[in-house]
C-alpha cells in the first residue's frame, strides 16, 4: 500500500541541515517569514509534498505546475512552506511524514516560525517572541538567547505536532512564536520572528523590507488568510487562548 504522504526530492539533501517551518497559521507569520527568507536568499525547490489528503490544487510558476507544499533549500538551510491552507485531515499524516523525512535526512535542528494570537495586537508596537522546545537541549538554546519560554499552555496546528513528533524522535526542535493578529496577515510579527531566529541560526536577510512592504503583503495575502482562518476554526485553534487546568505536578 502506498504511503498517504510522500516527500519527493528534486535534489539531494545534505545531512546536518537546519530546517525552518513556515506553514499557514495565525497571522500567516510563518508563511510571510519563510517566503521572505526564500526570496531574499534566492532558494530553490529541493523537495515537494505529494499527497491525496490535500485538495486538488497546483501552483503555477512561470507556467509550470508545482505542489503547493514545498521544501526550499540553500546550502545547509531548508525551508518548508505552503501556498495553501493545510486542511485538518492532512495535518497529522503530513507532519508525521515530514518528521520521518527530517530524521532520515539527519536534519540537525527544526525551527518553526509562527504567531501567538494576541488580542489588541494593534496596540502593540513591537511584538514579543516566545518559544517552546522539543527537549531540554532546545529549551537551553532559548534560555541562552533570552527568548521567553511558554511554560504551560496549549499549542494547536502544524508547529504543535512538529514539536511533539520531534520530541518522540529526540530531534531538537524549537517553535518561535511572535505576538500577532489571529486572522490578519502580520508582517511585523514575521519581522520579529526572523530577528529572534537570527539569534539561533544565522539567516542573512534584512527584515526592514517586510516592514516597508507591510501593506502590500497584507493586501496580497487576504485570500490565503481567509482560507487559513477557516481551517483554524476547524482545528479549534482558539484553544490556544485556553487557560490550562490546575493540577499537582
Amino acid at each position: 500500500m502506498s504511503k498517504p504522504v510522500r516527500i519527493v526530492e528534486r535534489r539531494s539533501i545534505q545531512s546536518g541541515a537546519k530546517m525552518l517551518q513556515g506553514l499557514p497559521d495565525v497571522g500567516l507569520v510563518g508563511v510571510i517569514a519563510a517566503s521572505h527568507i526564500i526570496s531574499k536568499l534566492k532558494m530553490s525547490e529541493v523537495a515537494y509534498i505529494d499527497t491525496d489528503l490535500l485538495p486538488p490544487v497546483i501552483v503555477l510558476q512561470e507556467g509550470l505546475p508545482h505542489s503547493p507544499v514545498r521544501i526550499f533549500g540553500d546550502g545547509n538551510l531548508l525551508v518548508l512552506v505552503s501556498d495553501i491552507a493545510i486542511s485538518i485531515q492532512a495535518i497529522q499524516p503530513m507532519m508525521r511524514a515530514i518528521t520521518d523525512w527530517i530524521e532520515e535526512k539527519g536534519v540537525e535542528i527544526v525551527i518553526s516560525l509562527g504567531g501567538l494570537a494576541t488580542p489588541n495586537r494593534q496596540n502593540i508596537e513591537t511584538p514579543k517572541v516566545y518559544g517552546a522546545g522539543s527537549n531540554f537541549e532546545s529549551l537551553e538554546i532559548l534560555k541562552e538567547k533570552n527568548i521567553k519560554i511558554i511554560e504551560r499552555g496549549f499549542l494547536v496546528g502544524p508547529q504543535a505536532l512538529l514539536l511533539q513528533y520531534c520530541a518522540e524522535k529526540e530531534i531538537p526542535a524549537i517553535s518561535l512564536l511572535a505576538q500577532s493578529f489571529y486572522n490578519y496577515p502580520d508582517p511585523e510579527a514575521a519581522a520579529a520572528v526572523i530577528t529572534a531566529l537570527n539569534q539561533i541560526v544565522e539567516v542573512p536577510v534584512n527584515v526592514s523590507e517586510l516592514l516597508e512592504k507591510g501593506e502590500e503583503i497584507r493586501l496580497r495575502m487576504r485570500d490565503i488568510m481567509r482560507r487559513t482562518q477557516s481551517e483554524m476554526m476547524r482545528m479549534r485553534k482558539s484553544q490556544e487562548y485556553d487557560i490550562p487546568h490546575y493540577y499537582v505536578a
Binding site: 486572522n183 490578519y184 496577515p185 501593506e215 497584507r218 487576504r222
Partner: protein
C-alpha cells in the same frame, strides 16, 4: 417525557454552537465568490467580529486605505457595510496575476451583525491600517439565576 429546565450553561453552549455554525456558513458563502469585483473596482477586505457582554467589536484590515475616506453605512438593522478608498490603484499585475485584467481602487465589505446592536454611541478608530468599530449591544431580557 422528562422535561428539564435549561441551565445558563446550556443556553451559553447553544449560543456558541449557533455562533460557530453561522461563522462556518459565512466562510462557505465567502469561498464561492472571489474577494474582488472588477466591475465595481473593489476588493473585499478581511474582517472579524467579537461579541462581548456589552459590545460588538468589528475590525477590518484596510491596507492602503485613506483614513478620511472610510465610510460605515447601515444597510439594515442587522447589517452594516464598510467602504474605503485606497491611496493607490492596484492592478492584478501588481498582485502577481498576469492572466486577469482589472484594477481596484477601494474596499467594500458588508458585515452581518450576530446580535442586536444600538446604532447610537458607536466608537470608531483607525490604527495601523485596521479599522475598529465598537457597537453597543441592545439590552435584551435577563435570565434570572436562582
Amino acid at each position: 417525557m422528562t422535561w428539564r429546565r435549561r441551565s445558563i450553561f446550556d443556553l451559553m453552549r447553544e449560543y456558541m454552537e449557533r455562533f460557530e455554525e453561522m461563522a462556518e456558513e459565512i466562510f462557505e458563502e465567502a469561498f464561492g465568490k472571489p474577494s474582488w469585483d472588477v466591475d465595481s473596482r473593489t476588493l473585499k477586505p478581511l474582517s472579524d467580529i467579537t461579541v462581548t457582554p456589552r459590545e460588538v467589536i468589528i475590525t477590518v484590515d484596510l491596507p492602503f486605505a485613506k483614513p478620511e475616506t472610510v465610510r460605515i453605512n447601515w444597510v439594515r438593522e442587522d447589517m452594516i457595510e464598510v467602504n474605503a478608498k485606497m491611496r493607490t490603484k492596484v492592478r492584478f499585475e501588481d498582485l502577481g496575476v498576469s492572466h486577469r485584467e482589472g484594477e481596484f481602487s477601494s474596499f467594500h465589505c458588508p458585515i452581518q451583525l450576530p446580535v442586536p446592536v444600538e446604532n447610537r454611541e458607536v466608537k470608531i478608530s483607525f490604527k495601523r491600517g485596521i479599522l475598529e468599530i465598537r457597537l453597543p449591544r441592545k439590552r435584551g431580557y435577563r435570565i434570572r439565576v436562582e
